[in-house]
Symmetry: C2
Subunit: 440 residues, 2 copies
């Protein structure tokens, strides 16, 4: 193993530094407005602000009786003076010695400072009294007006990935649509004379193109817009022509993924072809397996384009480049290196504040032998705790390698639901060890 190659951590740090320098997409082309029902998976392009206090009124969290805590806690009988259900305007003021029937979600009448739960009172039809064994403090079972947010507060910053919770919050704020960043276009170029289309019957020595549809799915899942180019043959001319298309200004691809052609053989032409385009490489290889030959670089954009873009002129160093990955041709290597390195760059191009990847922990079921000097990523199956939770609440998510025949074994990866990470310093991991996984 070449000592010049960066470790996984070093390579990840280079990627993170590059991602941190990427500016979010800019108006007008880089910003769109989508209805709330189409916002999941998109990225907020403007902060979400509260249009009212949240809650907009002091709100009961229980079915019961609004009252003055001091009176109720003295176990006095309190006259039920009225009733408010959810959706009704706040009543009040509440007379001294009185209680007010109230439903969950309803506004608490003026003058009341607590809600006693239905289940905690005696009720003689017209009056209620706190059970002798119960106490009640001011504020109990009430969310005060504005306790969650004040009108005008920034609730979510731009760059937030929108999921169900963010959609709920936007709805609360009256946002029937949201400003989101445009999805970054990602060019996907497979290389190799052995590649035939999915529909074709491969001749001896040929294989079908599985990397392009796989990467298209990975790009979509990571919030990008895949643009699958025709595969390029293993020749300089073919690669040059394909790069000309992929890197064309009007194509608008902020990220280029090339698979195959990055190892040491004499037909591995990707690095030379990129160098001809002025590429600068952050790394050409990393101490990982699978995925060791991965290449990460930037290709400067022609100066004319930058001059046109007056508004962002001060960021020429940041935006004057297209990012480019050379991913190994083996499908498992290609998937691993995408998830580890390309996905964070794509997240940054999509305007996200957090760039990933998202590791998790699990307990190792059976011991694993590895070799030190490389961070390894084995296709593995994790229970994710569902079975464990049912069996006993203190059992933990458990992970185990799936059998595989190396980085060309797509079938093994397709039976896995995560990668098991074996750190560079480890020769082996013992059964029962707490290990890191990268969920698929």
């Amino acid at each position: 193993m070449s000592p010049a190659l960066p470790s996984y951590d070093e390579a990840a740090r280079m990627v993170a530094a590059c991602a941190a320098r990427i500016l979010p997409p800019a108006a007008p082309d880089g910003i769109a407005r989508v209805p709330l029902s189409a916002a999941a998976g998109r990225v907020l392009a403007a902060p979400l602000r509260a249009d009212f206090d949240q809650p907009a009124f002091a709100r009961s969290t229980r079915d019961g009786y609004a009252c003055r805590a001091a009176e109720a806690a003295a176990h006095a009988w309190l006259r039920v003076a009225g009733s408010t259900r959810a959706g009704q305007a706040p009543a009040g003021p509440l007379a001294s010695g009185a209680a007010w029937e109230i439903m969950t979600g309803a506004p608490v009448p003026e003058g009341a400072d607590a809600v006693v739960m239905l289940e905690h009172v005696e009720n003689n039809g017209e009056r209620i009294r706190l059970h002798s064994a119960r106490t009640l403090a001011a504020g109990e079972n009430i969310v005060a007006q504005g306790a969650q947010a004040r009108a005008g507060d920034e609730l979510l910053p731009s760059g937030t990935l929108i999921g169900a919770a963010q959609i709920a919050l936007a709805a609360t704020c009256g946002a029937a649509s949201l400003q989101v960043y445009a999805k970054p276009r990602v060019a996907i170029l497979s290389t190799g004379d052995e590649i035939v289309p999915v529909e074709a019957e491969p001749a001896p020595g040929q294989i079908r193109n599985s990397n392009a549809p796989m990467l298209a799915a990975l790009v979509s899942a990571a919030g990008g817009e895949p643009w699958v180019l025709p595969p390029a043959a293993d020749s300089s001319d073919a690669l040059d022509a394909a790069l000309e298309t992929a890197l064309a200004q009007d194509a608008g691809a902020g990220l280029l993924l090339i698979t195959g052609g990055v190892s040491a053989g004499k037909f591995d032409l990707v690095e030379p072809a990129l160098l001809k385009r002025g590429a600068h490489f952050h790394f050409t290889g990393a101490r990982i397996q699978p995925g060791r030959p991965v290449v990460f670089g930037e290709i400067p954009r022609p100066a004319t384009e930058l001059v046109q873009d007056q508004g962002r002129a001060q960021h020429q160093d940041q935006d004057g480049a297209q990012r480019c990955f050379g991913l190994p041709g083996n499908p498992v290597s290609s998937a691993v290196t995408f998830l580890l390195f390309a996905a964070p760059i794509l997240a940054a191009l999509a305007g996200r504040r957090e760039h990933g990847p998202r590791f998790a922990l699990a307990r190792l079921k059976e011991s694993v032998n590895s070799k030190s000097g490389l961070t390894r990523f084995f296709p593995a199956a994790c229970t994710f705790g569902a079975g464990g939770l049912l069996a006993a609440a203190n059992e933990l998510p458990e992970v185990n390698r799936v059998s595989w025949q190396g980085s060309g074994d797509i079938a093994a990866m397709a039976r896995a639901n995560c990668f098991l990470v074996v750190p560079e310093a480890c020769d082996s991991l013992a059964a029962g060890a707490l290990v890191r996984i990268l969920p698929l």
Copy 2:
């Protein structure tokens, strides 16, 4: 707390048992064919089989020289008799005393039983010799024909969730399109007099409907087809009419989610309305917080419908019902109970073999106080290890509660990326403890 309520584990077990009895969607309406580019997130409705051996030929995993391992390991000079690059037909047979230049992915010539890496040989232009410090064993750097799969092997069973890896595998098998299960239709009914549409300006005491768009997003993410009904007011008549629509045979909703109206107050009408439709309840409440009032039931379908469906007559007990959840009206409660209980039922209705939920582990940053007797789910933020990995390879994903004001606090949930699980038996969790999380 009522001792009659099931614990989280007990409730989850009831849901899992119910999910296990659900049959996958049946042809013709329950099965569709989609192109590979639209298959992500869908569920395989037929097993995926290998159309050829995988690999279809003995394949080199390195750039180097195919040879006889016994000859190379003796450090003899071997004549380079030819060259095969990826995409070319297999050459051979390899003469005795000869080696054959070969590229990664290329077919190994007949007669060769190993590939020696380019970097591990001396090369005098016409001949190569293994470095004196190196050894080579038969089989090295070759994946034998059929090592990953034999033609006709089942590679993925029906019921597999399709992601990038499964798309890659399907492409390898020449499947340009896949048979998938139809997405189950999920009726979403919000209840409550206080609910106004997202576009409306709420009057005092009113709130905007955040649960319906939130649940629609959760249903979509879990592979269902959301069908948002107009909200129902807090009256028996309004609920009856809404249920009539939601449960209509021709509406085809296999799952009904109702939010609000399930706690103990006098306007909580959902359970009685469901009982009128013949509902049988698996549980009405569970020892969890938030989400304690959650209701899970089944509503029998009218007999006429079953008689028409001759082919599945023996499964009347399994399919003669619509599943129904009453979710608490508070948005955080609604999200938690959906993820814990409704998502597994939806996964089963979608034809998936695995029903979730997917828990993970993380290390707790700051101690948490809880109360025993309830399994608690706190909105929390997890680093997912990205930061930790960069700082030091042995740091772990770390989770911390986000501040929140109870189960109505959507803003807190929107700032979280997971729920922190505190088991029922715990009064508190210490900083540094290994804890379970439910990623959002």
